[in-house]
Assembly symmetry: C2
Homo-oligomer: 343 residues x 2
């Protein structure tokens, strides 16, 4: 019985038996990278979304599902430092859903996000399913020849950064599981956390700046969770990492949610509540922020290029291959990857 990651490694080894000069990077990064012309490479990714596994109709709206289907693939393109260009969309629908306005609203959400980033829908497929909706999202992007940012480029001494803030999407999922609903117009922290989970915002602009300015040595999008996704970078780059717990940017709505929950439960302030809270940011998936590494000499330049965006330095690459140390003001522990996996 293989895990999802072992399975992907097996496939990668199998497909490596058919080498082709046009394929710069095959299985195992956020996107595959293909030679396009003398100046550019094409990056391409696909993401499968399944009803009742990746989304629930009673938790979300058709527009949000359309948005998210595109957003998660755009996030993969961003993680290569590329600019998204075109997309395809396959959708399988039960007959009873086909008869509603679901499909129109779904594509409405998809096109609204596509327009923001000038992504063209060039094809797809429609099929019937027995009872669940399935969506396969395919997005391709463009990047300077040989300059796609891979998971494998992190070097010992590089600084580790994340964009935005973390943990909000995981809290949103928890709230949905507890029965919280999207309410039109409402703007409290609960609603913001729900939206953080249901309508992720792909970090296309930052990804592109990092790619164009050749700033990042390695990059991945935070889909599974920081602990898992940093482990992917460490494995691909054959390095380790240390992360400073107090540097991790915490979602402010998540903070409000945790404070409220403690108040409601009249809980005493516990010694370890800091680490408990941190779990959302370390192991919660689907924030769709970017995790990247840079040569420490480029820190000043990075700050200049990204001056209009939120980002934080959270740690440093080490020589301790595949070991991630989590440093708090009290102790250093080994951070095991605990993010999302299907199998």
């Amino acid at each position: 019985m293989t895990s999802e990651f072992e399975f992907i490694t097996n496939l990668k080894n199998k497909s490596a038996k058919f080498p082709q000069p046009a394929i710069r990077v095959g299985i195992g990064d956020d996107c595959a990278v293909l030679a396009k012309d003398g100046k550019t490479d094409l990056v391409v990714t696909t993401d499968l979304l399944v009803e009742d596994v990746d989304f629930r109709l009673e938790w979300t709206k058709p527009e949000f599902i359309g948005h998210k289907a595109l957003a998660i693939s755009l996030s993969d393109v961003a993680a290569m430092g590329a600019k998204p260009v075109w997309a395809m969309l396959s959708i399988g629908i039960p007959e009873k859903i086909w008869k509603t306005n679901f499909v129109d609203k779904f594509y409405g959400g998809w096109f609204a996000l596509a327009k923001r980033f000038d992504v063209a829908l060039i094809g797809g497929d429609v099929s019937k399913t027995p009872d669940k909706i399935v969506i396969d999202s395919i997005v391709a992007g463009s990047v300077q020849k040989g300059k796609a940012v891979l998971r494998s480029g992190a070097k010992v001494g590089d600084l580790i950064f994340v964009t935005g803030n973390l943990g909000g999407a995981a809290a949103g999922l928890e709230l949905l599981e507890k029965g919280e609903k999207i309410k039109k117009g409402a703007k409290n922290f609960i609603q913001k956390l729900l939206l953080r989970q249901l309508t992720p915002n792909p970090q296309i602009e930052i990804g592109q700046i990092l790619g164009e300015k050749i700033l990042a040595t390695a990059m991945i999008d935070l889909s599974d969770g920081l602990s898992s996704d940093l482990a992917h970078i460490c494995r691909a780059s054959r390095v380790g990492a240390k992360i400073f717990a107090d540097k991790i940017p915490f979602d402010e709505n998540l903070r409000k949610f945790l404070t409220q929950r403690r108040k409601d439960a009249k809980a005493q302030r516990k010694e370890n509540h800091f680490l408990e809270d941190l779990d959302y940011a370390l192991n919660g998936g689907e924030d769709f922020e970017l995790l990247f590494t840079i040569n420490s000499k480029k820190k000043f330049r990075l700050e200049k290029e990204l001056k209009n965006f939120p980002f934080s330095c959270v740690g440093e690459i080490t020589a301790n291959a595949e070991i991630i140390e989590l440093i708090t003001n009290k102790e250093t522990t080994i951070l095991e990857p605990k993010g999302f996996r299907h199998f």
Copy 2:
């Protein structure tokens, strides 16, 4: 309530609002066509396969599903006159199937066909599903710049051809529905018809010759059925067609199957059994042969280029926009598209 084809037309109109110079052909052909470099274009297609809609586990084998998932997308690439280059594969699997050897055998079938045509697997996605297997197959190919063979190029007076022979896959499906099973080693006509349905053979070589030699004016693969697929060409090219019933190449195993069935039923030879039989070839889908048109002056050249392959001239393009006439030795009738559709 829109049909599948109306829905695709709507999407095509919506996506046409985001014109991009790199997109030569968007939604509405067998593949999208994208500018690649100064000499070549990229064609790309995706096909969604759903358990209990597009295949049944009790009818087939995991290897066959892997083969078919790739074959149907290769067939779309062939229909553009392109050479397949790379592929991605998304698969959603219920947990109980993940625990079996299904996935290994499925990829075994996929890779065996990929190897024949030198197609590299460059990416994909794996997800869990609640209870049915879903597969999204993505294949890209390469074609001379501006030379992809579209559905829209047929001209009045062009001759209409099909490769191979027709109706076998529909008969195979009927046999599966009646409970016939694949038997190892058996090679009678029933087994051949089952395999025709379960392991289609994409016409890559012929498609590529037609593309490279710039012979076909329009082309489509026979996935929905001759009546539907010819209607797609007629609509896209704003032309009509006449088809000669006695020229349609009939699957020899289908002929044996029909003869056997009549014998078993001790049926009298009926006046209209010819048309009844023809229904398999006209409206049965999934033969995955190619349907193409050529300028009549190029007939001799076509015969030379395709001398090693079976193909037949079945009719002629007319000025009767979107009308397909079926001509038998007795009468001319209008052929309505009756091929497969999901909705």
